[in-house]
Amino acid sequence: MKKVVMGNHALSYGAMLARAQVIAAYPITPQTEVVGFLSELCADKLLDAKFIKVESEHSAMAASIGASAVGARTFTATSAQGLALMHEMLHWAVGARTPVVLGNINRAMGPPWTIWTDQNDSLSQRDTGLIQYYCESNQEVLDTVIQAFKVSENERVLLPAMIVLDAFVLSHTSEVVDMPDQELVDKYLPRRKATYRVDPKDPHSFGNLTGPDRYYELRYKIERSMREAEGLIKEADEEFDKLFGRKYGLIETHQIEDAETILVASATVAGTARTVVDELRAKGEKIGLVRVRVFRPFPFQEIRKAIENAHRVMVIDRNISFGHSGIFYQEVKAAMYNQPRRPPIFGYIAGLGGRDVTPETIAEIIEDAGKRDRSEEDIIWIGLKP
């Protein structure tokens, strides 16, 4: 069945179809509709879940961890300052190995007070150990919620997963979404069975004081699970494809086979870049696009393979690590450093605080990079008003 839904409701429908059992959330613009709609679904008995109203995002994640620790399928959502307030609990959810699916609407960080999109909120959580997906369409958002539960709850993974979508550009934009059939979703994602869980009949301590003789190994196990997640994300995606006829990959490549110039982008900016690539292809230019869908675990092999033969690569970042450069740029560059073949990589920063990234912006980037032989600047600003 097809429905016209906004990005925020695509997240809610995803949680509904996944049969989330506990939802703990605090509203924040531009995420509000996600949990507003979920609370309605619970009140109307269309979703049999416990909806926990909390007083902050820190508590939302704390409650989610508790729910996940007893074995419940758990969903939450937030944005920007809310995600920042959750930060401590994100580390906790990872260390406690409690699977939770978290929807984050990318909103720029204040001050100044802002509600428009950029990626600094989610990328600031880079080192917590969260699995991170960046989505381009509402269909992908909904499908990814279902896929993310499957990966996150896998006992070889047991890590929380964050699904990221751009504020307004996607969160408040309505698109046609093919609603997966509930029976098929149940088949794809059966009820969660948790081996390790808090159970009064079998008491254990969880997360208690653990000394240097054991902590180190626990960190190793998180990293190993992250790496395993890479393969399991692909498996979950392929299994999804068999049942629903859609798949997304760790990265999505477009027209890269013989491409001399490759754009690397994420989220909705990648959609805009794709149209520009198609126009230039029609004019005979050898240009392609790599869309990074999964940012953690970082898909090293796939990215290397996709761009190693290009003559120049331009990474577009709607984020900035102050004192360094764009974050996707850093990571793509680092992935290539030890490789025998590594093209020059240029880092462009665009669209901070929700400034539009239009086809003209992308064209400007391509034109600028065409004039450069080597990457000499760590940041190239696009659209800066001097």
């Binding site: 260390g95 406690a96 254990h204 301590s205 969880f206 997360g207 208690n208 004081l209 626990l218």
Partner: protein, 93 residues
């Protein structure tokens, strides 16, 4: 009392710190460098020290305050709060 489970390496561990750190054998009192000692001659059993101990390390045994040195961290709040100056401070060796 639960014994410390013998773990050789990561392969013996669950994914999370499940019963890996138990206070049964995590005797954090060993971190203390100053030890509070109650002089029961001076002590009036008012239990103010019991109320103030932030680590719940003063137990009540036969209506007397008894310090649990397995976990007492030596913060000396008890000594500060005792109205009879019945708690003295001894340096741990």
């Amino acid at each position: 009392m639960t014994e410390k489970i013998d773990i050789k390496g990561e392969k013996d561990m669950p994914a999370m710190a499940m019963s890996l750190g138990l206070m049964d054998w995590n005797k954090t009192g060993s971190w203390r460098n100053l030890r509070p000692v109650i002089d029961y001659e001076k002590c009036t059993r008012c239990m103010i020290c019991w109320k103030f101990c932030p680590d719940a390390c003063i137990l009540i045994r036969d209506e007397e305050p008894v310090i649990d040195y397995d976990y007492c961290k030596g913060c000396l709040i008890c000594a500060e709060e005792c109205p009879r100056d019945a708690i003295s401070v001894v340096k741990e060796e």
